[in-house]
């Protein structure tokens, strides 16, 4: 048996080596390769490295109120930000918001993907419809939700008030948070759905049949076979969704609540915007941006480390 396993490993290695030989293309000189890389490098440099570098630079400076002079202050901006009770409250709020968005978007998408994976009439149309929300711009999604939940003109908002439930997300902070969570999660369901559906279709059917013959009912099959095999996908999506909820929900919040009422929907990214653009406190805003950037990098590192280890095939 051992020699057999060795044999198989060796032939797998040879196969990989062949693939590598075939796929690698050699260019003469360096001109063409760099030319082909240039557009991507240019975009990355222009829209990421330059602004990110600016943010890091700014985060060590303090400007006067009119932007006429600035001085180097070292880590003072960071110390101020981290010591600010309002910022900490926003951080806690962001944690609640992000985890809620991720949990809601993941569970809804998983449920829908499991349904769409069944052999049902019109599965194709159903799948296409579920992918559409992803193509809707954040601001438009926000307006759509506004028309549903607005206390005076919204379909559900009016219905709730008519039923005697005091509903006004423009006055009630918790209701406002609920609305931005729902709208943000709704946007992300499509993306998760595509990945979950692909993951489900990647599970070999005989494995599920083997489980059925072993005596596992549909629910048990899901939790003991399907879900564990989806866990790498689920973890990848969890990280992507947290990043999305932390950073890409600006448009939704801006269009729906502008961080209000009070500060009840002000997340870290929204606060960085308010401090920089409205309050013109560039140093503090830049420091906040840098902290968020470090957070994203950390999440990405965790994901790559973990996902690399957890793949079963």
């Amino acid at each position: 048996m051992d020699s057999e396993a060795r044999e198989e490993r060796r032939s797998a290695r040879e196969r990989r080596a062949t693939v590598r030989r075939v796929r690698r293309t050699y260019f003469r000189g360096v001109g063409l390769p760099y030319l082909l890389l240039a557009p991507q490098l240019l975009v990355t440099a222009l829209f990421f490295f330059w602004p990110a570098g600016q943010a890091v630079y700014q985060s060590f400076l303090r400007e006067d109120a009119f932007g006429l002079s600035s001085q180097f202050v070292g880590f003072e901006n960071f110390i101020d930000v981290l010591g600010d009770a309002d910022w900490r409250a926003a951080a806690a709020r962001t944690a609640v918001f992000s985890l809620s968005v991720a949990a809601l978007a993941l569970s809804a998408a998983l449920f829908l993907a499991v349904q769409a994976d069944k052999h049902i009439r019109g599965a194709g149309a159903y799948r296409t419809l579920l992918i559409w929300p992803y193509a809707v711009a954040p601001a438009i999604a926000a307006v759509l939700w506004l028309f549903m939940v607005h206390p005076d003109i919204g379909l559900f908002g009016r219905a709730l008030n008519a039923l005697g439930v005091p509903w006004d997300y423009k006055l009630n902070g918790n209701q406002a948070l609920l609305v931005v969570i729902l709208a943000s999660a709704w946007k992300q369901v499509s993306y998760n759905f595509i990945f979950f559906l692909a993951g489900l279709q990647g599970i070999p059917k005989p494995v599920l049949e083997a489980a059925a013959i072993d005596g596992a009912g549909p629910v048990r099959r899901f939790w003991t076979v399907v879900f564990p095999l989806l866990s790498p996908t689920a973890f990848f999506l969890l990280v992507v969704n947290l990043v999305y909820a932390c950073f890409d929900t600006f448009g939704v919040i801006h269009a729906l609540t502008q961080g209000g009422p009070g500060k009840s929907t002000e997340t870290l990214i929204y606060r960085a915007y308010t401090d920089g653009v409205s309050n013109l406190n560039l140093g503090s805003s830049a420091a906040q941006s840098v902290i968020l950037m470090i957070l994203v990098i950390a999440l990405t590192v965790v994901q790559f480390r973990f996902v690399e280890k957890k793949v079963h095939y």
């Binding site: 048996m1 057999e4 396993a5 044999e7 198989e8 070999p204 005989p206 494995v207 049949e209 083997a210 489980a211 059925a212 013959i213 072993d214 005596g215 596992a216 009912g217 048990r220 003991t224 076979v225 564990p228 095999l229 079963h312 095939y313």
Partner: protein, 356 residues
């Protein structure tokens, strides 16, 4: 351990009929091999027994119990899949224990059964490994182990050897047969490989286009094939077929070129001129002057014997198997051994037995 009875099992996928009524009675402890070309419905038949497909009509009985409408989980069968279908996220031990855990067996009993099966299959050292760390042959053993620990009423095998290399396939074939005899579990084994079918089965079911063309022991299928399809499918190299007509009196057949071959086992019913198909296995031809004139096109030396491929004057293909090394060029005259001649109806292809 139990009997298995299929009666009138039919299956259609939409408008396509795959099984046209299969009847089969499997005795307790018997190993039945279902063999046929791809698309003949053999896998569908197995999946209906497993409960993975629902029969359009007919009944499936395991022992005295009608299981036609039962879920796979409630049938107490175990199945070994072509690609093993191990749970990739579980260790070998967990793979084998999964079905037992679901049935709520106490932990010591689970450990005892898994250890016993692992020892039987010689995979005791692999229990902590994941399926991806195993070779093809080892995975095959684990899949067998997962079936054995369940101690089911029925083993189902869906071409379990087709993903293994030739040497390992022969080894596992013998091992499966030994295990099945030792455990005495009623088994249904599906394959497209006629050698596997001949060596493994107590009885064969030769499937053809959704019908059971013949159900009999391997030797019976080989010696007395029920029709030209079975005759051509079982046996390697395949049987030669010649068009002929019945002579007056029914005691001989006349070939197109005028050669008359007498029947050794008795005369056949029918008027003179009845259309026949004669079947002659390549190993049942002997060189003899005045016989069939085969224009040899290719000689394949196999060591102990040689295969000669050629054509008759009317263009019909002929294969001849002769002992030893043969140097044949041009024309070889061969004569079939009269006792080994198979007679089929020229139109229906059904075997024609000699008259009482």
């Amino acid at each position: 351990m139990a009997t298995l009875t299929l009666s009138g099992v039919r299956k259609s996928f939409g408008a396509t009929a795959v099984l046209h009524g299969v009847d089969l009675a499997v005795r307790d402890g018997e190993m039945i091999v279902v063999v046929g070309a791809s698309g003949c419905g053999k896998s569908t038949l197995l999946r209906i027994v497993a409960g993975l497909e629902t029969a359009t009509a007919g009944r499936v009985m395991i022992g005295d119990q009608d299981v036609t409408a039962l879920e796979p989980a409630d049938r107490d069968v175990a199945m070994v899949f072509q690609n093993y279908a191990l749970y990739p996220h579980m260790s070998v031990f967990q793979n084998m224990a999964y079905g037992l855990k679901i049935r709520g067996l106490p932990k010591p009993e689970i450990i005892r059964r898994v250890d016993e099966a692992a020892a039987l299959l010689d995979i005791g050292g692999l229990l902590d490994r994941k399926p991806r760390q195993l070779s093809g042959g080892q995975r095959q053993r684990v899949a067998m182990g997962r079936a054995i620990v369940r101690e089911p009423k029925l083993f189902l095998f869906d071409e379990p050897l087709s993903n293994l290399d030739a040497k390992l396939r022969v080894q596992m074939r013998a091992e499966i047969r030994r295990l099945q005899k030792r455990l005495g579990v009623t088994s249904l084994f599906v394959t497209h490989d006629q050698v596997e079918a001949m060596t493994l089965g107590d009885r064969l079911v030769v499937m053809h286009a959704g019908h059971a063309a013949q159900i009999a022991t391997p030797m019976e299928v080989w010696e007395r094939p029920a029709d030209t399809y079975v005759a051509g499918f079982i046996g390697s190299p395949a049987m030669n077929f010649l068009a002929a007509t019945l002579e007056a009196g029914g005691a001989a057949a006349r070939l197109a070129d005028g050669l008359v071959l007498p029947f050794a086992d008795g005369s056949r019913a029918g008027e003179a001129g009845r259309k026949l198909t004669l079947g002659i296995r390549p190993e049942h031809l002997r060189p003899q002057t005045g016989g069939l004139r085969v224009m040899v096109e290719l000689v394949e030396p196999l060591g102990a014997e040689s295969l000669l491929h050629g054509r008759l004057p009317d263009g019909a293909e002929m294969t001849v198997k002769l002992a030893g090394a043969v140097h044949a060029d041009g024309v070889l005259e061969v004569m079939p051994i009269a006792e080994a001649l198979h007679v089929f109806d020229g139109e229906t292809g059904r075997r024609i037995e000699p008259l009482g």
